[in-house]
Symmetry: C2
């Protein structure tokens, strides 16, 4: 184990994937098939396809490294958070009816809804099993239990956020901007904040420091989501028509909610019509985006994304860290990913 | 807290439900709806409908009481196991397409598949949250962690068993008797064994005693399942036509698998035809049962159920227990429930 001043992120990723494979590796006999399904979903089936950014484990490992100076002891936590994230993706794909993820068929599209539900449940169960290796690596029982409580409470928040998302999508009326922030806090910020908090709490007993990492992670999570909201309508891929925009998919992201609350009565009525059109045409999408822009929804969302990003950077700057290279990586990730 | 010689099972059940309500009680605001859905599924919504037997928590509490002389300290474990069992029921109902459970509409039938998947995930998450109260009740971190590891590994077995069940149901050929025992071990015996083992390990540090309770629970779990298999075809409700038999639903239980392996070639061919008939008539069901009986499938299943029940009773007899009333209750439950 080398304590590196020039952190190698690809090594962290490779170590995380090896740690995940400890719990999802090949099985003999009657259960071999479901473990193959899991490795396929995770992009760990030997194919060269895209396999997800592994952002959550990476953030957790960097947080741990910034205090502890190395990352390997925190790998079970990194594996657990990536497995937990992926359990929710497998179930989200069923819930949203998405037949593709990362340019490959989703599990339910390949194996049917029953097997996909159950495979998600197994990934969820295995994410907990992964955490128990922290005990073998020498962490105290108190520390491991505290981490598990954080993980368990975070999973509750994730499901609560998903409930709000499904419940409001099923209704005719859009939800409010206020409820949207509540929802993305639970759905997105909670797991990112927990990943980073977990990294910190494995490395230190200082509750003030742990709380600070958590605040950093929470702001970062909100900034990530708002940046995604912006790119989903005004991103390069959307402009070049490579992927359907969030507008075509009727996603109720912040720009849409803001526009509903701030449009003129005529624009709001038209927006509601457009939002209810099952398969909007190119012209209708352009018209929708024009209404959003007239309300200043893009500027508002960009300002919000920046505000949360800057809050994250300020929190990060205030942290006393042993391993400054890890802090710089964290800072670099934030500024590169959040382009808003 | 009274140490009772005349154990009150209804008190144990009431205490278990109160413990469950600690984590699934009413919420304010945007998440209120999903907690209502959970209480509805659990029969804890104030309705007077049937609410499940709560067999798993009861067995765990009796195991704990048989050593510790009282049950209240083990309640978080009882709540967790009942929540874990119910998370799997919510997902099973979707996977099996069942629109009713305990004479009430299932969650997915009422709220759609997406909300039901997510509600199951939330129940699963809450089952872990329930366990953390063991720490507040004074159990050591090492003990709580050991219990969590048992729970996590049991959840893995449950999902593996469900995978085998779905995978073999989707095929034209029935699975083997050998694979069936593998499957019900994971799907049914594992959680019953874990409930009882959990009760024991909260009460004692003696690994021999804990292992013995586990063996008792495993045999009991197999006996329960085989008894269910028998009642699903030859039970009173089936004879009186009150509910569709397992034969009408084409369930591949032990009697059917045994018959496929032991029928004459002509009977086997006819059984395969009958098994492939989408909605068998009364006459076809009678014919199927007659084939099963010609192979001795009922006698074989009854003998297997008794063998595992007797193994459980022998294991129970060999246990040194403080609270003999609890042991007697366990014994009475076994002989009353397993009518085979």
């Amino acid at each position: 184990m080398t304590v590196s001043n020039d952190l190698d992120l690809s090594q962290m990723l490779a170590d995380t994937e090896a740690e995940i494979l400890r719990v999802v590796g090949a099985r003999e006999g009657a259960t071999a098939g479901v473990y193959e399904m899991i490795r396929y979903h995770l992009g760990l089936d030997g194919s060269s396809g895209p396999r997800g950014k592994r952002m959550r484990p990476l953030l957790g490992l960097l947080a741990y490294t910034s205090i502890a100076g190395e990352h390997t002891a925190a790998l079970p936590g990194a594996a657990a958070v990536e497995l937990g994230h992926n359990f929710s993706l497998v179930h989200d794909d069923i819930e949203d009816g998405d037949v593709e993820r990362r340019h490959r068929a989703t599990l339910w599209a390949l194996h049917g809804v029953p097997q996909a539900i159950n495979t998600g449940d197994l990934i969820f169960s295995l994410s907990r099993v992964a955490l128990h290796r922290l005990t073998d690596l020498g962490f105290s029982d108190a520390k491991v239990l505290r981490l598990m409580r954080l993980y368990d409470e975070t999973c509750v928040l994730l499901c609560e956020g998903q409930y709000i998302d499904i419940a409001t999508s099923a209704q005719d009326e859009p939800m409010t901007v206020e409820l949207y922030f509540d929802m993305i806090g639970r759905k997105t910020a909670a797991l990112i904040a927990a990943s980073i908090e977990a990294g910190a709490l494995l490395a230190t007993d200082d509750d003030d420091v742990i709380a600070r990492y958590r605040r950093f992670g929470w702001s970062l999570g909100l900034a990530f989501q708002l940046n995604d909201d912006l790119l989903g309508i005004w991103g390069e891929e959307q402009k070049t028509g490579k992927v359907p925009t969030d507008v075509a998919r009727h996603k109720k992201t912040l720009p849409v909610l803001y526009a509903f609350e701030h449009a003129t009565p005529a624009d709001r009525a038209r927006l509601a019509e457009l939002h209810a059109t099952p398969e909007p045409s190119e012209a209708e999408i352009v018209e929708t985006v024009a209404i959003l822009e007239r309300t200043g929804a893009d500027d508002f969302t960009r300002a919000e994304a920046r505000r949360h990003r800057d809050a994250a950077l300020t929190e990060l700057d205030g942290l006393a860290v042993v391993e400054s290279a890890a802090r710089e990586k964290l800072s670099a990730i934030i500024t590169s990913v959040i382009s808003a």
